[in-house]
Symmetry: D2
Subunit: 300 residues, 4 copies
């Protein structure tokens, strides 16, 4: 709402053209525009409550159809999971206030640090920017994961913002998503084993699993197909957790030594944050003990 | 919030795997999950007020830099504008409740009909879905407009939702955007003519235009460069307006005639809605008189 | 959020004492206070959408118990209804942007003009102020309606804000409340006639009315008790509608005539707005035709 | 949103009349009503974020004028402060989820326990009910504090809801209000001493205090008027803090002894919660150490 006073055109080009919109000197000099400009006031404020973790969760839209049409392998397609992770990394690298992201299947959650002031904590800005960056990355990086298999149409994700006031609540949120991953993956593993190896129709497999609990499903896998679920891929069982890690890298720099004509080559150690993927349990304490910097203390 | 009773697996596959998440029978059968599931209740309702036009406006993020890096021509790049329109069409075809969309420069506004119940009018769903579809389309259709020139990185758009209660307010909103388009384009046309043809530096051009009104700019163009601004491209002066039009198309169908073995080939006329682009004034009455179906009467 | 610069103490006394709170020079001069002041930022904006009618509706809390304990006559207590109206008038006189108020039973709705900027359209301010003024008035004016019968404890009302974008919607809202009044009053009239005159127990009366429609109830009243419902009190059948009316009143003023020592007494006609109660139908057109100034045209 | 199935009239009388509104069987049986009932859907959800402290703060409207007209003594009127406290107690007794309330001057804050589900955490219900109960109590208990001095007109308070996610934030909120109390009271004490004892005009007193810090004000009081601010009333310096305390009370009960004709009188100890007022520091640790039950641990 601030009106830039001077100088008006501090290099604010847009589209290779001078963007006069944001500087708004138009207000006084253009009658027609100012007559309509009251419509701005219909925008509402959607600032997120302070000192809460802001979670943006994305979900694929109609991804059942999408996965069918792109021949995703069942029950898990590692190319598709890799592309999800790559897109999520793209979001984190663009918004460094994301302290942890967790994904499984066609969903991904991004957690902003509780005192983030990014986009002045406006929910709409946060969720649309995450969704946009993720969606354009998904198409952009498709070839890295699917090679020559063409992407048939632009996919879509929807997003939402949820706030969590305490560390306890936030960890329960992440635990909820990981428990969901586990639950679905166990089901799907048995289901598709019954179909692909056991020769059942999908209707028969569904029928077979009706009413079974986790122990029953483990038993079917083990006794009928000699599969120990514990040995299945951690990526599938646990989903993908992305966090920041600091890495030291040695770089060679040319440094101008004063009073000398020449530059000197020196090796310097530089600390750099990188996004790192984990495929481990995040429900228990161990992960959080090992990465104490992700969450801030509630007591400030 | 409804829990599906029966049948649980009515074909709700996701990722080629049975999606058990949405049917939620997990609640009772899975202790760990139900323990965490309370976190759902932290989601808030953001239903848009009924009987208002819902406008979702997208803006390119850092598009100045983006346009520089992709060598957009100045003051307008028709490839870029075409790609914006193509992406907007993709949004409209996906969400038929959008009755009109208007775009210029790196922004696009989508107007949902005032009684739309899409996504139960939830603001977050509406704005993230529009943003996602637009963003993935922008990358997907890039080659159609830029050919072999590579897209260097995934672009990003942010979005917002604004509600307008009356036709009058909505038309003022669209007028505001088109007046903005006109205003910027006149400025940019003179600015880049001064630079590209007149040989001024950008700083000199800026200086030259300081304090000038529309008439002054028209005069510079005409007297110094023999350019009549009125003859400039309508796309640049007026932006792009997308609406639905009904088109009749003749299709050949095979129809089974009762009591006969054979099918007959017949020609039938089918009415189909298509997105159509206009580059005309939408501030005055003419456009609205010619397309009376876009807006609903306030009086219901 | 503005900080008054100078002069700091322009007579802003509160409680007969200088109120330094609002002028906030404390920020710089008081360490302890500024350390805590960040908590202000947890307040959220709840501005009502522009160009919509703002309706604040109040409902009595536990008014069944309240009416029992204060021996309200059944089915309608004119003292109680009068006190509700008096309190509503007190609200309107305090907030002149209320263009119409409608009440029945223990509820009252207040409609603010669609472009009101009172309290900067903040929903919380509007609803709490209406509720507060109404509640304190209810106790304050109790004696005017109930005389020596004591008020046993302070009553309570809850409130809410609802927005209506068009005249059509607003009139449907008011129609909804008046249809509710009619519906309840017909039921209650028959019910209590069956009990008080017909000698039925409340359970028997309830049973008797189960499944009856309006025509049945009218018939019971007429054939069994010789009561024509149409002749019942308009206040009870239609509820109370409060609007502003302009009245001219002749007042005597002393005017100083220039060049003369003396003042002259003159009669002047002064126009004054007053709250006026109506007990008529507000669902049909007649009322609105007779009072065209209450609503603004949607088309602005 | 639940529709009562059976029995419809389980004693839900309102105003001594059967309240059919809430049971809503009207929907199907009353055409006119159902035609309008869609307007209900314009209400929006304003549920407060879970696991946050909900603070409702009330402020007197135009209380400077009110205090002048009712001759409040300066700088503090103990009758007025007592009436504020009495009204606040009335609110707490009505809503037992309020765990602490703090008041000073013409304002009072009510803190609901962080997991309260009162009114399903709807902000509008919470703030209007607090405001209503407070306002009607203020008028109701006026005579208890002001005796025969008449209340001239119904006073008004406005309210707001603010959420605080952690204990730390909540305590900072309360500290902010108490620091405000201290700051204002010190100023007002010196100001009115200069006027009432020192014989300065209000303008002179204002001038005298311009630019002074706390130490200066203490010095003026001590050296010029022999007043030690520390000995001033705790009520004025610290404001009023209301909390719940459990009290044991011995009550005599008649108990029927089995197999005997007679009842026996026995003394039983009954635990009862009462609202208790404190006039002490709530910024430091001591108060919170002494009352560990007011706040819940952030970690759940």
């Amino acid at each position: 709402m601030l009106i830039a006073k001077t100088p008006i055109f501090a290099g604010c080009l847009r589209f290779g053209v001078v963007n006069v919109r944001r500087v708004r000197f138009s207000v006084s000099s253009n009658m027609a525009k100012s007559k309509f400009e009251y419509v701005r006031n219909f925008e509402t404020d959607d600032t997120c409550l302070r000192n809460c973790y802001i979670v943006v969760r994305l979900d694929g839209r109609n991804f059942h159809r999408f996965s069918e049409q792109h021949n995703f392998t069942k029950p898990n397609d590692n190319r598709a999971l890799g592309l999800m992770s790559r897109s999520a990394r793209s979001v984190m690298e663009d918004m460094e206030d994301v302290v942890i992201a967790y994904g499984q299947s066609d969903e991904f959650s991004f957690v902003f640090k509780r005192n983030s002031t990014l986009f002045r904590r406006r929910a709409s800005k946060l969720m649309t920017h995450v969704t946009s960056q993720f969606s354009s990355s998904y198409v952009f990086y498709w070839r890295e994961f699917f090679g020559e298999q063409p992407l048939l149409y632009p996919p879509s994700f929807d997003g939402r913002v949820v706030l969590y006031p305490t560390n306890h609540n936030l960890r329960d949120y992440l635990s909820w998503r990981q428990a969901d991953c586990h639950f679905n993956n166990l089901y799907n593993t048995v289901f598709w084993t019954l179909v692909q190896t056991g020769g059942l129709s999908t209707a028969q497999a569904e029928d077979r699993l009706k009413g079974t609990v986790a122990a029953d499903k483990n038993e079917i896998l083990f006794s009928e197909f000699n599969i120990n679920y514990n040995n299945e891929s951690a990526l599938h069982k646990k989903g993908t957790t992305l966090i920041w890690t600091k890495q030291n890298e040695t770089v060679t720099k040319c440094i101008k030594v004063s009073n000398e004509e020449e530059e000197k080559e020196v090796s310097v150690i530089r600390s750099r944050r990188r996004v790192q993927a984990h495929y481990c349990d995040i429900i228990g304490e161990q992960f959080w003990d090992e990465h104490p910097d992700i969450l801030e203390d509630d007591a400030h």
